[in-house]
């Protein structure tokens, strides 16, 4: 089951979209193939289900949260799978002819498969939460499908409305499911279905029911949530045929059927479900008659039929449930075929308005016959499937009336609905195929391509077959499905055409006769309706509500996110500070912990003093940017001193190198920026100072609280294991390249990404540096003072020596890949500074991408290497060596990894600095410049 869903939901869409690039029709074939594959994958399970067993398939996922991927296939599931895949196939075939060359087939079929997969997920879910996820997926997929013609505003609005309504319903459903799960003690359907008694007895039964029903009603367009469906008719007709006849709207009733054993049988159930069903049945039937749009008529008749099914489940007797399932099948068949016929007519006439398309019998008799049979089935004419289920429905209505002591009301109401059903079916036939000549069509309609009719034909044949030989064609499936619904003993029923002169029989007769006469005498009714229809309908109101909602949302967003970035930053800061403050207050611990503090000494005082003064000076003089930069350098220096002082030599080294690299970077940037800032002080200085002070004080207190406490750390392990496990005495480095090597791998990847991102941003950037400094003084003409050039060349080997040294011993003494990499990068940058790009790039690798690549692959390879020896990723092994002069020293595979780190750091740093440095050339192309100058 999982396989089928994966095929349609995950594999299918991208595959189809991809296929579409090699000719649009491939998309159709691909979609068909995927569907068949899914059917094939499900086939054994389906057979099992047909034999009446319930199959479960569990894939452990979040078992702790009671969330597993858990699938279930029983009779009901079987029925729906058949509907989804069968009608799905037909729709795919049909759409291949329906879509014009302007429509992207890849997109269409991708969405369609997405929806198909989601729908399969819904009907195959054993776990309620999982079911809900797929449920929401169907909403999303249908949104995409309805808004397929994105250019049309009605499509967009219709889609948005559908999503809003069904989405809201989904939310309610979630609440309902959570309650239900709590009541049943599990989200597994089997448990829920088994514990119907306790659920119905539970005090929270009613709210839970209401919530779930909200979900159901919104999904299958029950009154008063029915209005989204007609507006979803802006979708391409195949979509309507699939979603709005066979599958999506049926998801709601599917859920009714699914939870029938658990929830039904209470007065609340009967009144809520039955009531909604009855009203929907009537409203849909009545309104359908007055639609001029073909698809509009079909949409409202769909609503009405869904109401009928809902009412049947509401009645709640086993037999009613059977009838409901039966009508699900029948409605799917004839309504799908009707939609397709309507699509053909639309396709051939370029219009769907029944006031203009008349007398098509002459032009497309074949289609006409199909449509006539289908709509006859919809009307419930004998010898057609619609008749059978409708008669069962009438019988159930009568029975329920006697139960619920409604007297003649219920039968009368449903008969009235039947009358209207006959009337609108009749209108569909007569108004379209006779009733004069077509009016003002831009083309003369004719029969569609052969294969476009095939799906319709198949469905119509099905209608006939079911209608004439029900017991052979449909009864087995019906029994299996119904038993899946009831989860219990089947009521006895017989699918025969003739049950004798039962009240149901008379009701059918009345419906037929009344319907015909109603249609003949329709003119005055149309006028009345036209007058009524001028009042804004439900859809209009809901639409306005939605619009207002979006306006509010926009306002809130604007309110919460100010235009100016500093203000945004301010808000973030304030929020963080309030959080911290509340946390601190709740903790209510002493500020100073028990740890004995270190004595202050002169050095500490002086360094702190230097740090403080430098930092403050940076802030005071930040307008003179170069000055601020030098002061920042001092700050960095002192920070690294602090690291040295508190025994973190590696940090000190890194800090120092990064310090200089940053200064170079900022100088490069400063060249393109104003040197000074106007003295104009922003009005927020005081406020910002206040915030800054608060933040500082907060941090200071926090730091002190931390420092004055003894904290236990997991480092004991690292300290013990460093030598035996990692073969290194420098624990920090061992942690980096060995114990937490995976993190380091991630970090160098980030570094590489940042570098590449910067390189990408440099592309096509236009910035001209000034020709003279801020005082209008021309630049010094002497590019590379010889003294500097020569001596820095002299320094290069020394620096490289140092960096190699640091890299080698990194595992044992302070150092390692990061630091060595930075030193090398700085040494090379020094050449760029002193000798210029041309000189340097003539002697050095010009593009640094390959350095990064090499480093990353080396690091990864080292990690993978350990896999070869069946160790986990990045397991290190080491070997003691004795090198003269360097001393006793060991070669750990982790050092290869460190080499990778080294390469990445060098590459990234150089890539960033050099390319920013070369930016102000017209288009930044370091390589060619270099060649020019060499």
């Amino acid at each position: 089951m999982l396989l089928a869903i994966l095929l349609t939901l995950v594999v299918g869409p991208p595959l189809v979209a991809w296929l579409a690039r090699f000719g649009r029709l491939n998309a159709a074939w691909g979609a068909g193939a995927v569907t068949l594959a899914a059917a094939y994958a499900l086939w054994p399970a389906l057979q099992g289900a047909m034999a009446g067993e319930t199959q479960l398939q569990r894939i452990a996922w979040l078992s702790a949260q009671g969330l597993d991927l858990h699938f279930r296939l029983d009779g009901l599931g079987l029925l729906f799978v058949l509907l989804i895949l069968g009608i799905g196939l037909l729709v795919i075939l049909y759409a291949r002819y329906y879509l014009t060359s302007r429509d992207s087939m890849g997109r269409f079929y991708a969405y369609l498969l997405l929806f198909m997969g989601a729908m399969l997920g819904v009907v195959l879910s054993e776990n309620l939460i999982q079911l809900l996820i797929f449920w929401e997926l169907t909403s999303l997929a249908s949104f995409l499908l309805i808004s397929y013609w994105q250019g049309r505003s009605d499509a967009r609005n219709g889609a948005r409305m559908a999503l809003a309504i069904t989405g809201a319903g989904g939310l309610a459903l979630l609440g309902g499911f959570l309650l239900l799960g709590e009541m049943a003690g599990s989200y597994e359907l089997s448990v829920v279905l088994a514990s119907g008694e306790s659920i119905r007895a539970h005090p929270l039964y009613t709210p839970m029911l209401v919530l779930i029903l909200l979900g159901v009603f919104t999904k299958s367009a029950q009154f008063p949530f029915h209005f989204w469906l007609p507006n979803a008719m802006a979708a391409p007709t195949p979509v309507s045929a699939y979603l709005h006849s066979a599958t999506m709207v049926k998801a709601g009733v599917f859920l009714l059927a699914r939870l029938f054993p658990a929830l039904s049988g209470t007065p609340e159930w009967s009144w809520l479900v039955g009531g909604a069903g009855l009203v929907t049945l009537l409203v849909g039937a009545v309104v359908a008659l007055f639609q001029h749009d073909l698809k509009g008529l079909l949409a409202y008749s769909t609503i009405s039929h869904l109401g009928l099914i809902t009412l049947l489940f509401g009645i709640g007797t086993p037999l009613a449930a059977v009838a409901g399932v039966f009508h699900i099948i029948n409605h799917a068949t004839f309504k799908a075929s009707l939609f397709m016929a309507a699509g053909i007519i639309d396709h051939e006439c370029g219009s769907r308005d029944m006031r203009y398309i008349n007398g098509l019998w002459k032009y497309m008799p074949h289609t006409a016959i199909l449509a006539i049979i289908a709509s006859a089935a919809m009307a419930g004419v004998p010898l057609l499937n619609g008749f059978l289920s409708k008669e069962m429905f009438f019988a159930e209505a009568v029975g329920a009336a006697t139960q619920l002591r409604l007297g003649w009301l219920l039968p009368a109401a449903v008969t009235l609905a039947g009358i209207f059903a006959v009337a609108y079916s009749l209108r569909f036939i007569h108004d379209v195929f006779w009733n004069g000549e077509p009016i003002g069509l831009d083309r003369t309609p004719h029969e569609p391509p052969r294969w476009m009719k095939v799906p319709v034909e198949l469905l119509v044949i099905l209608c006939l077959a079911v209608g004439i030989f029900p017991s052979y064609v449909v009864e087995p499936l019906l029994r299996v499905a119904a038993s899946g619904v009831l989860q219990g003993p089947m009521p006895s029923f017989s699918l025969a055409l003739w049950h004798g002169l039962s009240p149901a029989m008379w009701m059918s007769v009345i419906a037929l006769v009344g319907g015909i006469s109603l249609y003949i005498a329709r003119a005055p009714l149309f006028e009345i309706y036209a007058r009524l229809a001028e009042r804004p309908g439900m859809y209009r109101r809901a639409h306005h509500l939605l619009e207002r909602l979006y306006l509010w949302a926009g306002a809130v967003t604007r309110l919460s996110t100010p235009e100016r970035l500093p203000h945004m930053a301010l808000w973030v800061l304030l929020f963080a500070m309030t959080l911290a403050l509340t946390g601190a207050l709740q903790a209510g611990a002493e500020l100073q912990g028990g740890r004995t503090l270190l004595p202050m000494d002169l050095l500490g005082v002086v360094t702190t003093l230097v740090l403080a003064l430098a930092a403050i000076a940076t802030v005071l003089l930040y307008r003179q940017r170069l000055v601020a930069l030098t002061l920042l350098g001092a700050v960095g220096l002192v920070v690294s001193l602090i690291f040295v002082r508190f025994s973190a030599p590696d940090l000190a080294l890194t800090q120092l190198s990064v310090e200089v690299v940053s200064i170079v970077l900022l100088l490069l940037a400063l060249y393109f920026l104003p040197q000074q800032e106007s003295r104009a002080t922003s009005p927020w200085v005081v406020r910002d100072l206040l915030i800054a002070l608060l933040a500082g004080i907060g941090m200071a207190l926090l730091t002190f609280a931390v420092l004055s406490r003894e904290g236990q750390s997991i480092s004991g392990f690292f300290l013990e294991q460093a030598l035996p496990g990692g073969g290194g005495a420098n624990v920090v480095n061992v942690i980096l390249v060995d114990f937490r090597g995976f993190d380091t791998l991630g970090e160098i990847t980030v570094l590489a990404l940042a570098a590449l991102g910067i390189y990408g941003m440099l592309d096509g950037i236009k910035l001209q540096g000034p020709e003279a400094d801020s005082d209008g003084r021309r630049w010094d003409p002497d590019l590379y003072p010889p003294v500097v050039a020569t001596l820095s060349r002299l320094l290069l080997p020394l620096a490289l020596l140092v960096s190699m040294f640091i890299l080698m011993r990194g595992h044992q003494l302070p150092g390692g890949g990061f630091i060595a990499g930075l030193i090398t990068a700085v040494a090379l940058v020094m050449q760029y500074l002193a000798n210029g790009v041309a000189w340097t790039q003539a002697r050095l690798p010009r593009n640094h991408h390959w350095l990064i690549t090499l480093g990353l692959s080396l690091a990864t390879a080292t990690g993978l290497g350990s896999l070869l020896f069946a160790h986990p990723f990045l397991t290190s092994t080491f070997q003691h060596l004795h090198w003269p002069l360097v001393g006793d020293f060991e070669l750990a595979s982790a050092m290869l990894f460190d080499l990778g780190v080294y390469l990445v750091v060098v590459g990234a740093t150089l890539l960033i600095l050099v390319n920013i440095g070369l930016m102000h050339r017209e288009s930044h192309t370091p390589l060619t410049d270099a060649e020019e100058e060499v």
Binding site: L602, L603, V606, T607, L609, V610, L613, A614, A617, L626, V627, T630, L631, G633, A634, L637, S640, L641, V644, R645, P649, A652, L653, L656, S657, V660, I663, V664, L667, L668, L670, Y671, G769, P770, D773, W779, D780, D782, L783, V788, L795, A799, V802, I806, L813, P814, I823, V826, A827, V829, M830, Y832, L833, A834, V837, L913, I916, G917, L918, H920
Partner: protein, 89 residues
């Protein structure tokens, strides 16, 4: 004897540090500040060396080494900026 000398020396170097900072903040010209920064770097080297002797550990020397290198490059970059504006060309 040595420890006394070390303490004295540390005090002197610390004072030197403070003085260099004063020039760094005071200016008045940018070269002054750059010079001050350079001096600050070198003072730090002195500090580290003294520290190493006092702690009797050599792990401070890499830091000293790096400061020597980095301080120079910082100065180089800053001066180049004053002279040419565009430091990598």
């Amino acid at each position: 004897m040595l420890s006394v000398a070390l303490t004295l020396a540390l005090a002197m170097v610390a004072l030197a540090l403070a003085l260099s900072l004063w020039r760094l903040m005071r200016g008045p010209s940018t070269p002054d500040r750059i010079l001050a920064l350079d001096t600050l770097y070198i003072n730090t080297i002195a500090l580290l060396v003294l520290f190493g002797i006092r702690q009797q550990s050599q792990i401070y020397f890499e830091a000293a080494l790096l400061i020597a290198l980095m301080g120079f490059i910082g100065t180089l970059a800053l001066c180049k900026y004053l002279l040419r504006g565009d430091i990598i060309e």
